[in-house]
Amino acid sequence: MAVNTEKNSYTVIFATVMVVIVGSVLAFLASSLSGKISENERLEKQQNILYAMGVNENGDDEGSVNFISTSEVAAEFDKYIKEQLVIQGDDITKDDKAYLIDLKKEESLAKAGEVRRLPLFVGEKDGKEYYIIPMRGKGLWDAIWGFMSLDANMVVQGVFFDHAGETPGLGANINQRYFMDDFIGESVLDNGRYAGIEVAKGNNDPTNERKDDNAVDALAGSTITGNGVTAMIRETLNLYKPYLETIRVKK
């Protein structure tokens, strides 16, 4: 095939054809897989929410994170999550699809001046109530997010964190148990103030025995991701403060 590949017209045609082919292949792939992908993401969200309230398959040892299996998670979610609330300003409504609310979208709505919707999940396990708050913030490279479950006294019962692209081996370890388990038992209150929990470098408490200091031990080498977690918890608590206060006073 003797084509003059140096000609401008050939270059333009080649580029056009290539873009069309690659574009349609990717578009076809994305649309044919999107159903499966969003289903996977939905189940993952349910797994994460349940994980934060302690419904998971973790052993007693400090090992890896073990979610409820994807085949059971939908049923377990219905069983343990009693109510899904949407807080919008002073309005509180129930909504079974609240866990599908996109926090990123709500954040940009809030920036545009609208009142954002805040999802909150009320779970019940062994007669005890859990208030699970979703959160979203910024790490070093990309978004970080998570769920934190609180009891009526604002003591953390469990957390789950995840990230889009933190440094592997450093900031990426926020989704490991040795980091997340440290939050359990910490109070987000400091003398009645919603202080949150600091991911602290110098709290001199590596075994995390002090549960009243509003701080957990940071990960070595991931200052900015840790600060991101601190900021995410503080900002989210600020948003949910009015509602959380009604729970606390009620009890």
Partner: protein, 215 residues
């Protein structure tokens, strides 16, 4: 290596030692520094690059006679990006757990200079089979160095290997820690990866004097 002629075998073996992309050509340093704090991440990255480089080299080699030279770099980028996105999407649909571990590396693979380097230097001028071997060889050469760095950084920095506490428990003070050993937190930071690469280069060149450049 009866399957391959000597020339073909060298395509795979050369990049493993005497023409290693990291230690000799000094390519792909950025990802070698970024993701080697853990052995597991190093292995995952190596396997991903192996796949993308093997496939990419084949695709570029098949297209080598019709790619206009003026836009060849763009074509190469499109090929890598497409391959990586296809892999990422398929994994997301059928192996969601695995895709979560890999997603961090997707961006790093696309920008990996070794991949672009091999497309440009080899696949554009050679046949499909040889290009495939060259891709595999270079990816393996890259992977070996990554695994070596990951091994030392995780062992000395966290005292673990693949998450297992091989040196004992630093908090409960068992194993080596009982006699006063401490993890070197500096190993977790990128500068130490560079120093480890430097040490590997030093060892390699002192064993094979031919690699030392004359000034």
């Amino acid at each position: 290596m009866a399957l391959l002629s000597k020339k073909d075998a060298n395509l795979i073996l050369d990049p493993l030692s005497d023409n290693n992309p990291i230690t000799i050509q000094v390519l792909g340093i950025c990802s070698a520094l970024a993701i080697t704090a853990e052995l597991k991440a190093s292995i995952v990255m190596s396997v991903s690059v192996l796949f993308v480089m093997g496939m990419g080299n084949v695709v570029i080699s098949l297209m080598r006679n019709i790619i206009p030279s003026k836009i060849r770099i763009i074509v190469q980028l499109v090929v890598v990006a497409t391959l990586v996105i296809i892999v990422d999407q398929v994994l997301k649909a059928f192996a969601y757990e695995l895709s979560k571990t890999l997603s961090v590396f997707v961006g790093l693979i696309i920008t990996n200079c070794i991949i672009m380097g091999r497309f440009e230097a080899f696949a554009l001028a050679n046949g499909t089979w040889r290009s495939f071997l060259d891709g595999i060889g270079n990816a393996a050469g890259y992977g070996i160095i990554l695994v070596i760095i990951g091994f030392f950084r995780e062992l000395l920095g966290s005292g673990t290997l693949l998450g297992y506490k091989v040196l004992g428990d630093p908090i409960a003070k068992t194993g080596l820690y009982a006699i006063g050993y401490e993890n070197n937190g500096f190993m977790l930071l990128s500068p130490m990866a560079l120093i480890v690469v430097g040490l590997i280069i030093w060892v390699q060149r002192s064993r094979n004097k031919d690699l030392i450049e004359e000034n």
